[in-house]
């Protein structure tokens, strides 16, 4: 086997310490393509883009730039599995690229730790790696258990995609990359109204009622599409659509029972690695996966 392709993995906080099944399935799926994720102990919180920005933007962009600079020192491209982390690193990197004054100011601060941000480093998310670097044809070859019985609702989430000038994704309103990756597993894509609608999570700290109203509307849209499951990339969207799903259903006196999967979990199913999902399902999935597993011929 040839030398593995190595990325510097930016872990952040939510995925490694709340939802490690994201990391596990991503690593296992990427191994199939000879891709390795290397960590660096100097990576801190990205910091997250929904509240820390509004506390102190200058500190946010500086810490984010430091994380990019740490990545740069490894010589490998960076992949962030979490959409919030990806957004933070990509936006900070882009801002530094565009604003010489900012770059100077930040590099002056980084110098104390012997770090430097050039603005030229590449920050990727899992879709860049799967869709662009690995390629759909190569992924398809690893699909041993086609999920043709499933209809999947891809929920992209805002921070994975926007703003385009920093994320370098395919489209701000009608992205296709996750749809394409899901199709390689044999699953059908459910047509959801308002493809890029927000999950509501960012305003949980400031207005939970409004946040949950938005979450309910998102779940309603997905339910109407007849999807068997929602697939996400972002751990925050996951928390909102999965962990909070029962709470939303109670609040609005309705029922959803829509399983939510991380994209890596869906790919694991399709590549015959159902075990790594089922081993952790009780702990990380509040919405039961039983019916879904039965449908794809796994053990419920």
């Amino acid at each position: 086997m040839s030398k593995p392709r190595t990325y510097t993995y930016f872990p952040g906080c939510m995925i490694p310490y709340r939802l490690p099944h994201f990391e596990l399935t991503a690593r296992e799926v990427l191994k199939k393509f000879n891709v390795e994720l290397e960590t660096h102990s100097e990576h801190s919180c990205c910091p997250e883009p929904t509240t820390f920005t509004g506390v102190d933007f200058e500190a946010w962009v500086t810490i984010a730039a430091r994380n990019v600079a740490v990545s740069e020192s490894t010589g490998n491209e960076t992949v962030a599995l979490c959409s919030g982390c990806f957004h933070t690193l990509a936006v900070a990197n882009h801002m530094v690229q565009e604003d010489e004054e900012l770059k100077k100011r930040i590099n002056k601060r980084l110098k104390k730790s012997g770090l430097e941000i050039t603005g030229k480093h590449t920050i990727k998310n899992i879709l860049h790696v799967l869709h662009k670097d690995i390629g759909l044809d190569v992924i398809k070859k690893q699909v041993t258990n086609p999920l043709t019985s499933l209809k999947i609702a891809p929920h992209y989430g805002c921070h994975l995609v926007r703003p385009l000038e920093a994320t370098h994704m395919d489209h701000a309103e009608n992205p296709q990359w996750m749809d394409d990756v899901i199709r390689t597993t044999g699953a059908e894509i459910a047509e959801i109204e308002d493809k890029m609608a927000c999950c509501g999570a960012p305003i949980m700290p400031s207005g939970e009622d409004k946040a949950l109203t938005i979450t309910a509307s998102r779940l309603d849209q997905i339910k109407a599409s007849g999807a068997d499951a929602i697939v996400v990339v972002c751990p925050t969207c996951y928390t909102q659509l999965e962990t909070q799903q029962a709470k939303v259903a109670d609040k609005f006196e309705t029922e959803y029972n829509i399983p939510v999967l991380y994209l890596g979990e869906l790919l694991a199913f399709s590549m015959g690695m159902t075990d790594i999902v089922t081993a952790n399902q009780r702990r990380f999935h509040r919405v039961k996966l039983g019916a879904l597993l039965e449908k794809i011929g796994g053990t419920p």
């Binding site: 906080c13 939510m14 490694p16 310490y17 709340r18 490690p20 099944h21 990391e23 596990l24 690593r27 960590t39 102990s41 100097e42 990576h43 801190s44 919180c45 910091p47 997250e48 883009p49 929904t50 509240t51 820390f52 920005t53 509004g54 506390v55 102190d56 933007f57 200058e58 500190a59 962009v61 500086t62 810490i63 430091r66 801002m95 565009e98 604003d99 900012l102 601060r109 980084l110 104390k112 730790s113 805002c158 921070h159 926007r162 703003p163 701000a172 309103e173 890029m196 927000c198 960012p202 305003i203 949980m204 700290p205 400031s206 207005g207 939970e208 409004k210 109203t213 938005i214 952790n280």
Partner: protein
């Protein structure tokens, strides 16, 4: 006649325009597409991004202390639809920053910021979780050098700010 408070207001506007991407505010021609695109405005009539931009444009700094700005999802739907590519969520972020010392910051946001500055993570890492990671065969991630990070932020003064801020948000708003 120029009054004292008007000058103070213009200082807020000038500060904002000097921030990275802050000058995109000047492209706003108040068409209101942001407000009709906004998912929060749809459920909360007092949340009006166009009006917030108008206030900042005319030098009204009250927006920084208005709790409504924290209702922005940062989903960027407004920005995607804005015919002038105004960085609306970013401008609201800058308004939040200016409201910090007046306490316009949700408790959960403040707690999270304090955790980040002291531990380098947005959440506390528990030992059971570290065990879970080991059990799952996931590598140890190590810990970043917090002293270096804090030293790097010295000129921004965030540590002092976080020590002194008192959130005006009640506990009920806390997650």
């Amino acid at each position: 006649m120029v009054k004292q408070e008007t000058m103070l207001d213009l200082e807020f506007r000038s500060w904002l325009l000097e921030q990275p991407e802050g000058e995109t505010l000047l492209r706003c021609y108040q068409c209101g597409r942001c407000t009709s695109a906004c998912p929060v405005a749809e459920i909360e009539p007092s949340f009006n991004p166009r009006l917030f931009l108008q206030k900042i444009l005319i030098g009204d700094k009250s927006i920084a202390e208005n709790q409504l700005v924290w209702n922005c999802l940062t989903c960027e739907q407004c920005e995607v639809r804005c015919p002038e590519h105004v960085k609306i969520p970013h401008i609201l972020i800058l308004a939040k920053v200016r409201g910090l010392m007046a306490g316009n910051v949700p408790l959960a946001a403040l707690d999270r910021a304090r955790t980040i500055i002291s531990e380098g993570r947005s959440l506390s890492v528990s030992s059971p979780m570290l065990k879970t990671r080991t059990k799952m065969g996931l590598p140890d991630l190590g810990t970043p050098s917090m002293d270096q990070i804090v030293a790097m932020l010295a000129d921004i003064g965030i540590v002092g700010k976080l020590e002194n801020v008192k959130s005006v948000y009640g506990d009920a708003e806390d997650e």
